[in-house]
Symmetry: C2
Subunit: 342 residues, 2 copies
DNA sequence: TTGAAAGCGCTAACAA
DNA sequence: TTGTTAGCGCTTTCAA
């Protein structure tokens, strides 16, 4: 059972290999009847193109650019580290990965960066996007110029992107609620809610899912109004300290955003690390330590390594014109407790 | 910045491409001084071999054989389905994946199957192994004959396998304990423990981890002696029904093995689906349904798709002589509750 | 609209 | 011990 090659198809269809190639890649200038003949031969022989040989012959490296938020947010730093990592590892695969850092919270700067990236004509762009008309505009412009775009972590649903790499954030919020509610148990009291900024689509969706489940399933717990900490750990420390001081019967805190080390610090400073149930997002050095010490009770996570690899696979498949494995590209909502941290 | 090829290295080292190839692949018959010269050139030019071209030139398909348990266990069926799936998808990558089903609980049959597979000289074997001297013997024989072996799901630590694809089962057991303990909350009572067979290394390790955490952290709960259900759902239904009937203050059940649909049926028949906390392993159609209905409180999972893909990647890398990405090949201990089932 | 031929970067057989 | 040569399966000129 030797491999069926383009030559076999050519012979079967009584054309040259070049013509088969034209048909395979839907290139112009082949008579429809010839196309039909070739397609028939392909079907008869069950021909499967050899992607490796195709890439080799094309002799063209793919260049993908990732546009990520600059700043101190540990999760985003990890994401950037994963991109750097991929950069080195992908060379033998003939894909070049570049990283551009930009203040994502600034829609203007972000869209400028996207425009700028477009002028270098990459084979694909991955971006942590802000849901803002200007950004959507810039993404659409890229797409129209023939540069495929995937969004990472935070999506822009109505933009022309070929794929979104990330989790279902309202499900993530619901997950946080169930864990927090069940860990609190039969105790009664109040639950603090912290977010980075509700202009970030993912935070808003998490909050929505969280409140939904809390109200429906844990009505004996009262969710306090959300407080915005701008993903900044210093502000979050203040916010959490205030929460602890003002609320006599605080039994839990959920942080839908970043900046966990501030909340952890406040909890530990108040000696409430153990009795207040704390659920948050993203496994970082700080939250891992919190889990081990018992200050953090559960972490909802999206794996940055998986996300970067997935984005690269999706862009590569797009460039190759091959399909993706849907199940492999679905990013899971990971739950980590003390016992299963990797 | 054009790509550095083997030709560039050859020129730099003043040898032919063939010699560079010999050095790269550590083939015999190159004078040490020449080796040194070539290696220097490689370093100077920062040469990275093109794996695609290498595979193409080798012009050899890889053939990997998976030996999996036959039988009704849903998780194993899913694992087999993932192998079947990979079979089709891997053709364009020039790797052929074959599946052999065998009664894994029978050490003799399993080792015979391994021996038989070895005679077909595959480029690699993946096996769900039983920890038994005969099986270890057969694995070692394969390995000695130059066929690399990876174990899946259940390991044989002292056998000559190049890699184990699976989770840390005692950590999985600890995870189950923490979830069960915290979900039970302040209630007091007994916890039932079910396993398939303690001859399966993974079940034994899970039980160990589970009991360890229960005793240390949840001393107010009494873990009952383990009952073996042989991973059979009909037997498990009896075992669970008995447990429910005999134990007046049963607050939780942990099943370290398969056959969950039996336990679920017993819980629901007794009308105890909600108040008894049930933690088990592997997300299947039955456990998913149990989660949604609230009968199952948490599922500890290992992703069969990830495991099969990982095994293939590890075997391919071995055949190519390229390194693996450790983080990508670490199988996570997934936790699923109602809200984050995929 | 189609075909012939050269080459992508590497490996393998044979020759020197 | 080393070099030469002919491919691997596909794409890409260029010519017909």
């Amino acid at each position: 059972m030797a491999r069926v090659t383009i030559q076999d198809v050519a012979r079967e269809a009584a054309v040259s290999a070049a013509t088969v190639d034209r048909v395979l890649n839907r290139r112009e200038g082949v008579r429809p009847s010839t196309v039909a003949r070739v397609e028939n031969a392909i079907r008869r022989l069950n021909y499967q193109p050899d992607r490796l040989a195709a890439r080799l012959a094309r002799s063209r490296d793919y260049r993908f650019v990732f546009v990520l938020p600059s700043g101190t947010n540990t999760f985003m730093q990890n994401l950037a580290a994963e991109v750097e990592d991929a950069t080195g590892r992908m060379v033998p695969e003939r894909v070049i990965v570049e990283l551009v850092s930009v203040d994502v919270f600034d829609a203007e700067k972000l869209s400028e960066a996207l425009e700028q990236v477009g002028t270098t004509r990459p084979d694909g762009v991955g971006v942590v996007a802000l849901d803002h008309p200007m950004v959507r505009e810039a993404m659409n412009a890229l797409s129209d110029a023939g540069v495929p775009v995937v969004t990472l972590v935070s999506d822009v649903p109505n933009a022309r992107r070929i794929h979104h790499v990330g989790i279902d954030n309202s499900a993530a919020g619901r997950t946080a609620a169930t864990l927090l509610g069940r860990f609190v148990g039969t105790r009664r009291g109040k639950v603090g809610l912290i977010a980075g900024s509700l202009f970030l689509r993912d935070h808003a969706e998490r909050q929505y899912g969280f409140e939904q489940v809390m109200h429906r399933e844990f009505a004996h717990l009262q969710v306090l109004p959300v407080r915005e900490g701008r993903d900044d750990y210093l502000r979050n420390e203040e916010v959490a300290a205030q929460l602890l001081e003002e609320t006599t019967d605080l039994v839990g805190i959920y942080n839908a955003g970043a900046g966990n080390r501030g909340v952890i610090a406040a909890l530990e400073a108040a000696g409430r690390g153990r009795d207040v149930v704390y659920v948050a997002h993203e496994l970082t050095q700080f939250t891992r330590r919190g889990l081990v010490r018992g200050t953090v009770d559960a972490i909802i996570n999206q794996d940055p390594g998986h996300e970067v690899r997935s984005a690269i696979r999706v862009l590569t498949a797009h460039a190759d014109g091959t399909p993706i494995v849907t199940s492999q590209e679905r990013i899971r909502i990971d739950i980590f407790i003390r016992d299963n941290v990797p």
